[in-house]
């Protein structure tokens, strides 16, 4: 399940520290952020996305994430490639957790290292927006009185 940079396509720059992974283990945000840091950079922007208790007025007990794992990894790799084309960034790491997550636990980490912080902020924002639009992962919100698979915005559809 864990996919590391060892399995990157050969066409990718071997010096890059890019990675994308899916895991059922708790995420260590600091450790993930440190993995992307090259010496040429001056800033890493890291998004720590975690489980919110309230969505509107409804109280969530916990979340379950499920992914179409091989396609999710492919889409994550594509996003990294696109981000590198659009922003002046040095390296990107994306790790999404799957399975049952308690309130406050980290579900997704995106770390972007860049020579200058502005590009890292812009790329990180773009990456989470795109991840939520195209990467085939779904969350089920479990409440005291039921559960529901969250379905993304229709207009967010690919194609």
């Amino acid at each position: 399940m864990r996919e590391t940079k060892d399995r990157r396509p050969k066409t990718q720059d071997q010096k890059s520290k890019d990675f994308c992974e899916l895991t059922r283990e708790p995420l260590d945000v600091g450790a993930i952020a440190r993995r992307v840091v090259p010496e040429t950079c001056g800033a890493t922007v890291t998004l720590d996305g975690y489980v919110r208790r309230f969505t509107g007025e409804r109280q969530t007990l916990y979340l379950e994430y499920e992914g179409y794992e091989p396609m999710a990894l492919k889409e994550m790799k594509k996003l990294i490639g696109q981000a590198r084309g659009q922003f002046e960034i040095a390296s990107v790491g994306i790790v999404h957790r799957l399975g049952k997550l308690e309130i406050g636990e980290t579900s997704v980490v995106i770390s972007v290292a860049a020579p200058h912080r502005r590009h890292a902020f812009e790329a990180c924002e773009w990456l989470i927006k795109e991840l939520k639009r195209v990467v085939p992962i779904w969350k089920k919100e479990v409440y005291a009185d039921g559960e529901v698979w969250v379905e993304g915005e229709k207009q967010s559809a690919k194609n």
């Binding site: 396609m71 939520k132 992962i137 969350k139």
Partner: protein
């Protein structure tokens, strides 16, 4: 020919299975294959669906080959 169809999250719950195998005639277009799946499992109709062929979002024009992997799922909600 036989192809595998995968369901995830809401579509897996709707169909009651995570995976099925369907029989298609050769040279079936992806759109026709997906329409057949929704005809076979009309409970999918109440969802807004996305389709994939071999782990890529489908345009619908793909020609399905023996052994291909199709997937039917709702709009994504990760993050």
């Amino acid at each position: 020919m036989k192809v595998q169809v995968l369901f995830f999250g809401a579509t897996a719950d709707a169909v009651g299975k995570r995976e099925i195998e369907i029989d298609l005639t050769d040279e079936t277009r992806a759109n026709d294959a997906f329409q057949k799946i929704v005809r076979d499992y009309p409970q999918l109709e109440k969802h807004s669906l996305l389709f994939a062929v071999n782990q890529e979002y489908a345009s619908g024009d793909e020609i399905i080959r023996n052994g291909d992997e199709l997937a039917v799922f709702t709009h994504v909600s990760g993050g």
